[in-house]
C-alpha cells in the first residue's frame, strides 16, 4: 500500500485522533472495565460463587443451548440463501434480499411481539398449540425461535457480496471437469467462502448469545428455566445484586472480547 499524501496540519491530525480515542475510551473501554471492576469488587470468591449458583448455571446452559441450535440453522439457511441469490436469477430474488434484512430493520421487541401474536394463547396458532399440548411461548422453543429470527441475516449478508464477487467461473470449471453439484460445493465453493462464513458465524454467535429484546418478550423470565444470560443479568440488577449481575455480564463481555479478537483474525485472512 502506498503512503497517502497528507495535507492536513499536524494539530488537526492530533485533534482528530484524540477525539476518536477519547470517545472510544469513554464509551467502550470504561464500561467494559467497569463490568470487570464491579464483578470482582467483592473478591474472586463471590465472583465465582455468583457464576456457579444454580440459576446462573441454568442461564448459561440455556444461552449455550439456544446458540447451539440457532447458529447451525442460520448457517445452513445463510449459505443456501447466499448461494441462491449470488448464483441464480429467479423471480422474487429482490424480495428475498429485502426479507433477509427484515430483522435488522424491525426493533427486536417488535420481533418478540410477533411471536407472541403467533403463538400466544390468544394468538393465531395459540388455540391449536394448547389443544395439542405444545408449549412454545414462555418456554425454550420460543426463545430459540426468537433468536433464530433475530440472527438470520448475519451469514447470508456476509456471504452474498463475497459470492457475487467470486462469480461462477471456478464452479463452472469444476462441472466441466466432471464434478457433481455436491462435489463442487464442498471442494470449490465452501473453501472459497470459508473465511467469510466464519466471520458471519462469529457475529451470528455473538448476537445469538447476547440478544435481549426479542428473547425478553417471549421468555416469561422464569428463573432457572427460561432465563438466558442477558435476561438473568437484568433480574439480578433489578434485585440490587450488583456483584452477581456484573459477574454474569462479564461472561458476555468476555464473549465480546473473544468475538473482537476472532473477527480481527478472520478479517486479516479475508
Amino acid at each position: 500500500m502506498s503512503t497517502p499524501i497528507i495535507t492536513e496540519k499536524k494539530w488537526l491530525r492530533i485533534l482528530l485522533t484524540s477525539i476518536s480515542l477519547l470517545f472510544m475510551s469513554l464509551f467502550l473501554l470504561v464500561p467494559l472495565g467497569t463490568i470487570f471492576y464491579a464483578a470482582l469488587q467483592k473478591g474472586l470468591l463471590l465472583y465465582v460463587t455468583s457464576l456457579i449458583e444454580p440459576d446462573a448455571l441454568a442461564a448459561i446452559r440455556l444461552t449455550l443451548l439456544t446458540a447451539t441450535i440457532a447458529v447451525p440453522i442460520n448457517l445452513i439457511f445463510g449459505v443456501c440463501a447466499a448461494w441462491a441469490i449470488a448464483k441464480f436469477n429467479f423471480i422474487g430474488k429482490q424480495l428475498l434480499i429485502t426479507l433477509i434484512d427484515l430483522p435488522f430493520t424491525v426493533s427486536p421487541v417488535i420481533s418478540g411481539l410477533i411471536f407472541v401474536l403467533l403463538f400466544g394463547a390468544q394468538g393465531f396458532l395459540g388455540p391449536w398449540l394448547i389443544q395439542h399440548n405444545i408449549k412454545i411461548l414462555f418456554a425454550v422453543p420460543g426463545i430459540v425461535l426468537a433468536t433464530i429470527f433475530i440472527t438470520f441475516p448475519y451469514v447470508a449478508r456476509e456471504l452474498i457480496p463475497l459470492m457475487q464477487a467470486q462469480g461462477n467461473d471456478q464452479e463452472e470449471a469444476a462441472l466441466t471437469l466432471g464434478a457433481n453439484g455436491w462435489q463442487t460445493f464442498f471442494h470449490i465453493t465452501l473453501p472459497n467462502i470459508r473465511w467469510g462464513l466464519l466471520y458471519g458465524v462469529i457475529l451470528l454467535n455473538a448476537r445469538a448469545m447476547g440478544e435481549f429484546g426479542a428473547v425478553s418478550v417471549v421468555s416469561g423470565h422464569i428463573r432457572g428455566l427460561t432465563n438466558t444470560i442477558p435476561l438473568h443479568v437484568e433480574i439480578l440488577y433489578n434485585e440490587y445484586n450488583f456483584v452477581a449481575a456484573f459477574a454474569m455480564a462479564s461472561i458476555l463481555a468476555l464473549l465480546a472480547l473473544f468475538t473482537l479478537v476472532a473477527k480481527t483474525v478472520v478479517e486479516w485472512k479475508l
Binding site: 467461473d169 471456478q170 463452472e172 470449471a173 469444476a174 462441472l175 466441466t176 471437469l177 466432471g178 464434478a179 457433481n180 462435489q183 471442494h187 470449490i188 473453501p191 472459497n192
Partner: protein, 345 residues
C-alpha cells in the same frame, strides 16, 4: 470426437445472442470462432460445453445428441479466459481434480497430473499455489487441468485474452504444436484474427449471432464473403459506387461486379497492400498526393489523397525508400485486387 451444431439459437431475456448457427468440426480438427465481443461466439461454446442451455437447435458430439446431457457427462475440456483455477488448491491438485471427482486413487491421479504438467512445461511447479504463478503459467495449468480427464473435445474461450501480446504469441505457437501432437478436436473462441489464422485449420467468422463465413484462414483473408468479414480481418480502404453493366467505376478504375444487378449501390473494398504506388507517371495509375507516412517497422503506410478520398497504401520499407516517397509528393496509384459488396437496403 466430432461436433455438429445445427440451427442453434440462444436468447437471453428476449435478446438473441445466438441466431441460427450451423457448423461442424471433424475429428482432430482445430476450428476457431472469430468475431467481435458480443457477437455470440462464447455463448456457442458454452452451449456445446453444457454451461448454457440452447433456446433451440441441436448439438451433437460424435453423432450423439447432447442437448439434454449434463455438462459432467459431455467429456469436454474447457479452458476459461480468466483461467478459473481453484485458488485454494496447489497446481498439482488443480490438475488432478478432474480425476479425483471420478474416484481415481490418489497415487494414480497425481502421477497423471505430473505427466500433464510435464507436457505443458511446468514440471517442478506442482506444489505452487495459483497465486504464485504468472499469467502464462496459470493458463498452462488450466490447459493441463482440462486435459487431465482425457476429454474428447477441447473448448477454449479466449484463452490468451488476459495475457500480453508477446506471451500470447508464444503460447499460441506452443498450443498449435501441442495440438499437432495430441490431435485433440479443438474449438477456439477469439476476437484476435492473428490468433485465429495462426492456430486454425478453419475459421468461422461470427457477427451478431450468425456465421458470416466458414473457410480456411487464407480464404477468409483473400476471398471475404461479406463486407463485415473483409473489414473485420485486416485493414481495408472503402469507396462507394454504383453498378453499371456489371462493373463499378471509381476514377479510372473498373471493378468487376457481374453478380450484382444494374444500379446497385456498392462498397468497393481493397486492402492497403493491394494498392500499388509509383512515383513514375509512365508506370500508369491515378495521380494522388502523399499526405502522411506511418512507419510500422518492416512496412510503411502512406496516406494518399485522391480527389476527395484518402487511401491507405502499405508497402515494404525498402520500396518506399527507393522511390523517395515523402509528404507532398505526387504519386500514381493502381489497385491490384478489390472486393465489391452490395449495400444492404
Amino acid at each position: 470426437m466430432s461436433i455438429r451444431v445445427h440451427q442453434l439459437k440462444k436468447h437471453f431475456n428476449g435478446f438473441g445472442a445466438v441466431n441460427d448457427v450451423t457448423f461442424s468440426v471433424s475429428d482432430g480438427e482445430f476450428v476457431t470462432l472469430l468475431g467481435p465481443s458480443g457477437s455470440g461466439k462464447s455463448t456457442v461454446l458454452r452451449c456445446i460445453a453444457g454451461l448454457e442451455t440452447p433456446s433451440s437447435g441441436l448439438i451433437e458430439i460424435d453423432g450423439e445428441v447432447v442437448t439434454k446431457v449434463p455438462v459432467q457427462e459431455r467429456k469436454v475440456g474447457f479452458v476459461f479466459q480468466h483461467y478459473a483455477l481453484f485458488r485454494h488448491m496447489s497446481v498439482l491438485h488443480n490438475v488432478a481434480f478432474g480425476l479425483q471427482v471420478r474416484g481415481i486413487p490418489k497415487k494414480e491421479r497425481n502421477e497423471k497430473a505430473r505427466e500433464l504438467l510435464n507436457l505443458v512445461g511446468l514440471s517442478g511447479m506442482e506444489h505452487r499455489m495459483p497465486s504464485q504463478l504468472s499469467g502464462g503459467q496459470r493458463q498452462r495449468v488450466a490447459l493441463a487441468r482440462a486435459l487431465a480427464p482425457e476429454p474428447g473435445l477441447l473448448l477454449l474461450d479466449e484463452p490468451f485474452g488476459a495475457l500480453d501480446a508477446r506471451l500470447r504469441k508464444e503460447l499460441r505457437s506452443w498450443l498449435r504444436k501441442l495440438h499437432d501432437r495430441i490431435k485433440l478436436t479443438s474449438l477456439l473462441v477469439t476476437h484476435d484474427q492473428e490468433e485465429a489464422f495462426e492456430l486454425s485449420d478453419r475459421v468461422l467468422v461470427v457477427n451478431k449471432g450468425l456465421i458470416e463465413q466458414d473457410a480456411p484462414p487464407q480464404a477468409i483473408f483473400d476471398q471475404p464473403a461479406t463486407e463485415f468479414v473483409a473489414t473485420f480481418v485486416g485493414e481495408t480502404n472503402r469507396v462507394e459506387g454504383l453498378v453499371d453493366e456489371g462493373t463499378v467505376a471509381w476514377g479510372p478504375f473498373r471493378f468487376k461486379a457481374i453478380h450484382l444487378p444494374q444500379s446497385t449501390k456498392v462498397h468497393v473494398l481493397f486492402r492497403p497492400h493491394d494498392v500499388y504506388v509509383t512515383s513514375k507517371r509512365e508506370d500508369g495509375g491515378w495521380p494522388g498526393v502523399i499526405r502522411g507516412i506511418q512507419f510500422l517497422g518492416a512496412t510503411v503506410v502512406l496516406d494518399i489523397q485522391m480527389d476527395d478520398v484518402t487511401l491507405n497504401a502499405e508497402l515494404p520499407k525498402g520500396v518506399a525508400q527507393i522511390s523517395e516517397f515523402e509528404i507532398g509528393k505526387q504519386v500514381y496509384v493502381s489497385i491490384t485486387n478489390a472486393h465489391v459488396f452490395a449495400l444492404k437496403n
